[in-house]
């Protein structure tokens, strides 16, 4: 287990540096003319020179790169062209919104995956089982943004139960429900499947048979032999899902106009605001690696065999 963690830890700096380099390289290669974006089309040579000097664009590449890495290490992610504010500040402002949505979605996912997985295993072959497996397939294969739009259409516009955009001012629970439900539903699918399958596996294992052979009740065998052991692969899968959640989170934020980091990325892309895009990307990459690390650690906690 520690070997895995160590391996992950050593990958982190490589990944970050690699991404930083990639972003720097692409900033040099981009067709967009930053100067024109700031000053408009009719920019005089003197103005251009002045802006370039101020942005440090007249320096040789190596110096620019050095400055760039230095700034990154200090946490300076550049300045957004559209907002004319430091990207790190924009990210910090958007972070709570994303974290709230992420947390709420994770809770929803667990609340769906656990009961449905256990019940589907318990009532294997029943209509519930078949229906839930069908829903799982729809959930994991559908595009997250479309799912969100369907939810908005039905629950928001047609039934009028929930607001369809933004977070509310001040942020309230009402606005959180729909995006969290959609995201949670989508992310629950994989884990539900894994949980069901691993419970069924465990129930046909030797230790479950031995338990039944000494008269343990079906309920005990289901929970202690089936679920307790079946949870292990399911938790790992959940962890993996959490690391992949970021992708869907971005799309859901865009659909619901949720003021988080994903939305920030979207604005950056739409407005060709390269510093904003690269800043948010870097941050999200950091998140991805950290999440993977936590998952590895979690695995060690759940399975006592790995603790040794």
């Amino acid at each position: 287990m520690f070997r895995q963690v160590l391996r992950r830890l050593s990958t982190l700096p490589i990944v970050l540096v690699g991404v930083a380099i990639a972003l720097f390289v692409s900033s040099q290669v981009l067709p967009t003319d930053v100067v024109r974006l700031i000053a408009g089309d009719s920019v005089t040579p003197e103005l251009r020179a002045a802006i370039e000097a101020r942005l440090g664009l007249d320096q040789p590449i190596w110096v620019q790169f050095w400055n760039y890495m230095g700034r990154l290490l200090r946490g300076d992610l550049g300045t957004s062209i559209r907002f004319q504010l430091p990207v790190s500040q924009l990210v910090a402002d958007a972070l709570p919104a994303s974290l709230t949505l992420f947390g709420a979605a994770a809770v929803v996912a667990v609340l769906i995956a656990f009961p449905v997985g256990v019940l589907a295993a318990r009532f294997r072959g029943s209509w519930f089982d078949v229906l839930s497996r069908g829903l799982v397939v729809v959930g994991i294969s559908s595009p997250p943004f479309f799912l969100g739009l369907l939810a908005i259409l039905w629950f928001g516009l047609y039934l009028g139960w929930f607001p369809v955009s933004g977070r509310g001012d001040p942020p309230d629970l009402y606005h959180l429900v729909l995006p969290a439900l959609v995201l949670g539903f989508r992310e629950a699918g994989s884990t539900t499947r894994v949980l069901r399958a691993s419970i069924l596996d465990e129930l046909s294992s030797e230790q479950a048979r031995a338990a039944r052979a000494r008269g343990m009740t079906r309920r005990y065998v289901l929970m202690k032999n089936g679920v307790r052991n079946g949870l292990i692969p399911a938790v790992t899968d959940f962890g993996t899902t959490m690391t992949e959640l970021a992708g869907a989170l971005i799309l859901i934020e865009i659909v619901f106009g949720w003021p988080g980091i994903g939305n920030l990325l979207y604005i950056g892309v739409r407005w060709n605001d390269f510093p904003l895009v690269s800043g948010t990307v870097l941050f999200l990459v950091l998140y991805a690696v950290a999440a993977n690390l936590i998952v590895d650690l979690l695995y060690g906690v759940i399975d006592p065999r790995l603790r040794g």
Partner: protein, 293 residues
């Protein structure tokens, strides 16, 4: 396995075509018994046919007509710029399928080269390549897509390249695993002992036995690739306006969700149908050919 040639001149070994055929026919039969898989395949074929032959029958998807915006002319109506929705959905299907196939093929090629190399040569080569796989896999697909597309500039092929890089590690690991088990087999050991060059061994003995399961796996995953393309286009980091992609159609149509939900529903539901169908097909393929991810 047949051994040809006189023993004195060394052992010439061929891979067994009969075994491959048995693998395929048995799997085909099992697949046919899987109802969701068969239905999914039917849906995919229908969409494929419409995508290929559709443009012969539909209007120009890019023809703007500001006098008939948001109307219900034509099969599915028109969008905010008066363009025929049905034609655009068909165009979107072409885009989706094109990107899916291109990205999958590119991804498989890269995965094959890297995965087989990692499995065959082992050692430090394996260490480095496995790390590369790990690194790429840490990224959520969208992020990687945005990163690459932003760097190179958005277009149809860039999206395909970006997605192919994102999916490559999964297939790379499969190739690696298949290669590892393949080189354990006796006939490969025998050929290696004969002193044939590594390249020749890989091309003639390893690859033919290794490619099939991975390709089957990849086929089932094409739905997810299509969804990724749509997601990137929705974001604005994929197919750009005025070209039609289901992703950017949905993005544009979102503003009119309340009044003209069709703008979103038509492309969205077809995409959903394609994705779910591929999901069923993928599951059925994995069951039928007894493959594990």
């Amino acid at each position: 396995m047949t051994i040809e040639g006189p023993v004195t001149s060394g052992i010439r070994v061929k891979t067994d075509p009969a075994a491959t055929k048995k693998f395929l026919s048995g799997g085909r039969r099992r697949f046919a018994q899987n109802l969701p898989g068969v239905v999914g395949l039917a849906v995919i074929v229908v969409i494929l046919i419409v995508a290929i032959f559709g443009p012969l029958f539909t209007l120009d998807p890019n023809r703007v007509d500001m006098t008939h915006t948001l109307s219900s002319d034509g099969i599915a109506g028109t969008d905010a710029l008066g363009r025929d929705l049905f034609a655009r959905v068909v165009e979107g299907a072409r885009v989706a399928l094109f990107v899916s196939v291109l990205a999958t093929v590119l991804g498989l090629l890269m995965a094959m080269v890297l995965g087989v190399a990692a499995g065959y040569f082992g050692g430090i080569v394996d260490e480095i390549l496995s790390r590369v796989f790990d690194v790429i896999l840490t990224f959520p697909m969208i992020l990687l897509g945005v990163l690459i597309v932003i760097s190179i500039g958005p277009s149809l092929t860039t999206v395909a390249i970006a997605i192919s890089i994102a999916i490559m590690p999964r297939y790379g690991r499969q190739f690696r695993a298949q290669t590892l088990s393949c080189i354990q087999r006796e006939y490969v050991q025998a050929v290696r002992a004969q002193g044939y060059s590594s390249l020749r061994i890989i091309l003639r003995h390893v690859l033919p036995n290794v490619w099939l399961p991975v390709v089957v796996l990849a086929a089932g995953n094409m739905g997810k690739v299509a969804v990724s393309e749509a997601s990137l286009s929705y974001l604005g980091a994929g197919v750009q306006a005025p070209n039609a992609s289901w992703g950017n159609m949905i993005s544009e149509g979102q503003a009119y969700l309340q009044t003209n939900p069709g703008l979103v529903l038509w492309p969205g539901l077809v995409l959903l149908a394609l994705a779910v169908s591929f999901s069923f097909v993928g599951d059925a393929l994995r069951d039928a050919f007894d493959l594990t991810e």
